[in-house]
Symmetry: C4
Subunit: 293 residues, 4 copies
């Protein structure tokens, strides 16, 4: 997966400032690189908070100009970061077209676009674009070490879950069409897409209650739909649990094999003995004392 | 299960156009058969989209005549496909009575019926029948190879899930009756079937909010019902997860056995040795070196 | 568990009609006993349906007298069955005090009580008692063979699930009290019990929407409560799945041991060989050919 | 974890009343200590009930003075208990700063504070503080022996569940911002925090229905959000189930190892043989016959 691949240094300069910044941005084990990561995380969270608070009317009324300044401050900071990344990596285009590269770009673009598209009539569009800055928070996940196992289990079960979703959508089409015929537009089921929306909301046990069956037959079909949804909600859970348990078992087995490998036979070199074995499995020579775990 | 059985060629003509079409329709590995499958999937999705969009009032107002033409186009296409399937399979009746045969028929029947049953007063009935065309999308699942494991796990756990559903229905009857007595018709619990509908909606954690307890005792019973539902929602998940993990373990064990088979004994031909074995299990002759995995 | 214990014949008469009826009621393998079971199941379902339909106003208006007759018919039938069971079992009192004995009694009592407590003012109470007749359907589960594994897994995990429920209730008390203070009676959180009802409805992801937070702080606490509930909904599922997988593995292992045991060594009598073994594990004597599975 | 650590006796007096009370409060196996625990549990439940009932208006009107007396009675009882605990443990400060110490203090503080902060205008604040007394019920969990396995599995999976929660919050920010732009304040999505509240309520399948999408695009995004939530609801369940199954397998393996230990070699004393072993693993001496399990 390109998602987790490590970028390589721009070969133009193995030494100099590029080298230094590459180490700061992409390595984890030095003090400056850790400070850089932390600074970035704080900046991302703060910029998302600004967008969120700016949307609350009475806060916007009082702080609008401050938020405007902060907005441009964050945009310039992230622009500098984006430029730096482009300069130091070996293949800038590859970074620019990767998932993170696109998110990094989308996080700065809306503020610049708001300069090009001024005027009251385009405010809504600009607001829509600015919202995309929220995607910055997605960067956060990059900094969390532990997400690997969970993500890999999700990734391995992606085809099964997609299949499951297509089953859910098929049921939603059939149930939505049925309810559209049974209840009709007068009870809120105004067309098949709206009925499908209702079917998804119902089957996934959300149940907003904005559209609700009112005929006896409609309620009967709804109960059946709910029980079907209740029965197959097990499917993604089952898939994911099985995959995760599998992954954890493999990780454990690998750790177990590594533990065995520690004591190779000094005569024939055979490794992989039982932790309690005292003689080599293969040639009979005495093994070294096992280490305390 | 007849659901996944492979149909056999009509013996009347082992060669000629029947043979050719049978290969196109039922085999997967040639280019024309793959094109046929893809064309069918596109046609099914497009026809379902037409039915869905036709139900939206303002789209219907503008495009009604186009949809009418598309409707008949799809119907004729699917009719030709249905006829072809009947002609080339060995036992046409068996296909016609199979699940897919019935769905294929239901997918074309409503459009023809709309000719025989004209008039404004029957419009609703015809619409109901036309909805059945949506079942076409169910055909899609036939074309997805990977659904096997998921379906088999569901199939193996069908009895346990049915048992669980009957338990849910029993609780719904008891809880619905109780709430009908406690809350009464004035609070929306107008009769036992309606109360049962409410109990199913509540226990499955959908919670529309169209019927809601208003007395203290009613709220207490509701809380108890919710906690019961919350506790037993684990049951179908547990059943399905256990079955799926079982199936995956068996598949893995089978794969492991196949891997063992790679090293047969050169003397007695016995296969299925332990990966670490150095001598034949059966005759004692030395085995070839195991390959690196 | 007394729930699944088999009753013993009344010793007073090893032969005669008691013996015959005991076999019909409590055994499963003869034709008359199977017919008796089936008749009873049909009668239970039919009597429940009568109670349910009788609660629907417009059906009651048209069919009240028929339902009255059916009601008494079922009551007399079930009374006869109850008397029979009391007569043929060895210890009638034990049956009468068992779970099924009490349910059997509750299923016939309300109709008789409606004779003793006539008058318009007691109608509601009688209706409440009549509802208990619905418990008849609980008898159904007795007739389903397969429920064993599921019930045993539930039974083994009962303490863990009770503990989990007490955790849920504790969180409901704390969250309910908090919301009562934050939102107050004017927003529907009229007292702590009502707030607890809301907390249970919310945490279990039912979400009726009859009581809803309206302040920003209230919505924040609600989001936190939902995320907590979302995280611990895993607990009962995990408990039950682990117990069920455990039970299935044990059943499989037991079956595997039985399969191995089939071939004992003719010399030393040792059992439990690998299915593929050709010589005795213990004394080296040749084993008999393994049977085809 | 300090949560489950056992406190040590105050060394100042190994004998005398401190010793006696330490045994009563912290040990489990004597009759007085069991009575003490039971009395405390009853007192906690009763005090919580009083707070709850006092919040119901018509009950408060009739019983206010009785509740006032009970309130002070419980407060003095718990104050005495708190003082006792401080006196008998070896390091009182450590207890006072532990989770349970803080809860014990919070459970008595509000009643005293209501003396210092009298007056109608502060009633609401005091009520808020009094609510904290409900935390007493959290003490209950301390007295339940069996919670260990469940809590440890939760504890082991805490990092994975936190990671999952941060993913849920990220999705809530993105989806909430999107819906704020699509639906806007006129449809109830008045600002991004409110939209995020809606996104959490929807994704966790609670679905109050107080805020609901009304445009077609909004409903489409909602359906997508629901399906995403429906797919990843598996994650915490999978994590917890895998951890719990892991814990149970380890407990079983430990029990199995203990079972093996039963047959030690009479010559070299080595324990831990395979159940089927006939000779000592270490010195070759014949082992005693294995006992029937």
């Amino acid at each position: 997966m390109r998602l987790f691949s490590t970028p390589q240094l721009n070969p133009a300069s193995e030494t100099g400032w590029r080298r230094r910044w590459f180490d700061i941005i992409y390595r984890r084990d030095t003090r400056p690189s850790r400070n850089f990561d932390l600074l970035l995380v704080y900046a991302i969270v703060a910029s998302v908070l600004v967008v969120m608070l700016d949307s609350v009317q009475h806060i916007h009324a009082a702080w609008a100009s401050w938020f405007y300044v902060a907005e441009w401050g964050f945009t310039l900071l992230f622009s500098a970061e984006y430029a730096l990344r482009l300069l130091v990596v070996r293949r800038p285009l590859r970074y620019a077209l990767s998932i993170w590269g696109i998110i990094d770009l989308l996080a700065i673009l809306p503020t610049y676009l708001s300069l090009l598209l001024p005027g009251a009539q385009t405010l809504l569009v600009v607001r829509a674009l600015r919202i995309l800055r929220v995607f910055r928070i997605l960067k956060l996940t990059r900094y969390i070490e532990e997400s690997g196992i969970l993500m890999q289990a999700l990734w391995r079960s992606r085809r099964k879950i997609l299949l499951f979703l297509s089953l859910v959508i098929t049921i939603a089409i059939v149930a939505g069409s049925l309810m559209y015929v049974i209840e009709g537009p007068s009870h809120g089921f105004s067309n098949i897409p709206a009925s499908m929306y209702w079917a998804v909301v119902t089957m996934a046990t959300v149940g907003f209650g904005d559209i609700v069956p009112q005929t006896t037959l409609g309620r009967f079909v709804t109960s059946a739909l709910i029980l079907i949804g209740y029965s197959i909600i097990a499917v993604p859970t089952g898939i994911y649990t099985a995959e995760l348990a599998n992954g954890m078992r493999q990780a454990e087995a690998a750790a177990g094999r590594r533990r065995r490998d520690d004591r190779g036979c000094v005569v024939c070199g055979y490794e992989g003995h039982e932790p309690a074995a005292r003689y080599c499995n293969r040639c009979g020579h005495e093994l070294p004392e096992p280490l305390e775990p």
